[in-house]
């Protein structure tokens, strides 16, 4: 250990110039990644100026004329925009409310399983849906909700003597979205919690047992506090992403029948921008979304830090 730090210090003591010249290769190592980020991330960030311009394809991003806040004013006067923001938030909040606790409970349960064989089987099986593509997931939904041969409707018939149009009635859209998400992601999300549970010192449990703590009490008073930092970190990330609900699944599940509830910001940006070619307006909507996301992330980070001292940055 001390050996390592000594070596690190000895490197550090060398003159800056020698370190720079000796390690010029390291800069070459980093170069491709830098080029990537410049071209694929930072260039689009500068391109965001078209939100304040009237983009003309023949004039390009830099040459198009400035129009100030015109597109943003249009957003605020758009009657459907409020509904779209509400849809985005509602979908995210449902997902957070249902999707966030499930992996925690699941991880606590897996951790309590004494038989390691059973535990490993449950883990292997529950991770599997994570590897199914979104396209396949949505088609599985269609298959299982089919009114003729869908298993969910077979169940519905058994209990309610009627079929339920899960995918063609818009009030079911949010429920189907959230539940299919839990089916796909809950198992995979347990990994992080399980790794936090692994790092708990067994002595804590032993001394608690000597003091007469029951198993339930130990889960609640030892396991829960130990995963709390991980929990709040993931919570921050999820709240930070409230306005950036994934495009793929919503877009795939969208139908004319459920469009009122299923139009979210990302799908709206796609349609206005790439289908109706209103580049500038659509970029303005996207910029609004990115800024709100950034603010949300900073806000939740501040709140969780003041509450329990865990924060992302």
């Amino acid at each position: 250990m001390s050996q390592t730090t000594m070596t690190a210090q000895s490197i550090r003591r060398q003159p800056v110039l020698r370190r720079l010249t000796r390690n010029y290769e390291l800069y070459l190592f980093a170069l491709p990644a830098v080029v990537y980020f410049v071209l694929f991330c930072y260039a689009p960030m500068f391109g965001v100026q078209i939100a304040f311009k009237n983009f003309k394809p023949n004039l390009g991003i830099w040459g198009s004329p400035w129009v100030g806040l015109k597109h943003f004013q249009r957003i605020t006067t758009l009657p459907s925009f409020l509904q779209i923001v509400r849809n985005t938030l509602a979908l995210s909040l449902y997902q957070l409310a249902v999707g966030f606790p499930v992996p925690v409970v699941l991880a606590l349960c897996i951790n309590e399983m004494r038989s390691s064989k059973i535990r490993r089987t449950v883990q292997t099986v529950s991770y599997a849906p994570y590897f199914i593509s979104t396209v396949v997931l949505v088609s599985l939904l269609e298959i299982f909700c089919n009114e003729h041969y869908g298993v969910l409707n077979a169940l519905a018939r058994a209990f309610r003597q009627e079929t339920i149009p899960f995918l063609t009635r818009q009030q079911y859209f949010r429920g189907m979205y959230v539940l299919s998400g839990v089916w796909q992601g809950a198992g995979w999300s347990t990994i992080v919690y399980l790794s936090a549970l692994t790092s708990i010192d067994p002595e804590l449990h032993e001394s608690a047992m000597i003091d007469g703590a029951s198993r339930l009490q130990r889960v609640w008073h030892i396991n829960m506090p130990c995963i709390l930092p991980t929990l709040s970190l993931l919570f921050i990330l999820q709240v930070g992403g409230l306005m950036s609900i994934g495009f793929e699944k919503v877009f795939l599940m969208q139908k004319d029948i459920n469009i009122e509830l299923s139009e979210v910001i990302s799908t709206y940006v796609y349609k206005q921008g790439l289908q109706k070619l209103q580049y500038s307006f659509s970029a303005a909507v996207g910029l609004f979304n990115s800024v709100v996301n950034c603010l949300l992330l900073v806000l939740t980070n501040t709140v969780t830090r003041s509450l329990n001292g865990n924060s992302l940055f």
Partner: protein
Amino acid sequence: MRPAAPVKHKRLIRSKDDRIVDFIAYAVGALVVLVTLYPLVFVVSASFSDPARVINGEITLLPKGFTLEGYKRILNYSLIWKGYRNTFLYTLFGTSVNLAVTLPAAYALSRRDFIGRNALTAFFAFTMFFSGGLIPTYLVMKTLRLVNSPLIMVFMGAVSVWNTVIARTFFQGNIPLELQEAAYLDGCSTTQLFLRVVLPLAKPIIAVLALFCAVGHWNSYFNALIYLSNANTYPLQIFLRNILILNQMDAMMMGDPDSMEFLLRMMQLKESMKFGIVVVASVPVLALYPFLQKYFVKGMMVGALKG
């Protein structure tokens, strides 16, 4: 990965409380296994079953009226195989580019004597918090002439901040500094050191990243939807969407409808073929994953330590 072995209770008298916890844990586990596996088993069974019986909802768990007709038709369905080929190529080249760009950068960032590593990390990490958004990205790609080019499927997402952090953390924690110093003393250049000493020691993390990236490429559909419009370059997922969700299936493969019965039969076949297509599309990843599971999990854990 194994969770901490729960303290052994064998010698102790199991209290009521203890048994309740056991019961809940195993009941939840059983429920999860059932809910996860049933849909997958159902789809496989239905793909081997007589189309008419599938459509009538006769399948509950096992195949009924075993037939390979659906698979035979899928085998002759050229679009699926075109998509398969494209996706395979995108996955192969995309993953190679991912690794070739991510690993050297992550190694550079892991070196304490790399001046500017903090600034560079911040430069990378900032892209996680703010992005230009879809439209500006699209316009920039258009300027770069990458729109409608298969190259975009390879280069888009070549580096992810997350993967770079995972690899950097691994290099920092698992490649002894003394070894690197010794290599330098023996007259190794940084490139030689990286290729001959560091990479061979980094096999676990290379496996993890390769798997993450490959699964990502295999399942990706967003970039193709946005940037590609030539059907010859479509990946599998786009064809899957057209067939499974938009219900577009070539009429030519169905033959000429000469009677109502034949038409009905074709309709049924078309529905039941979807099951086989789902299987064909998901099997490569699902069949590989249990063997590679430990790597995936390791990758998640390395990342979680320094998120």
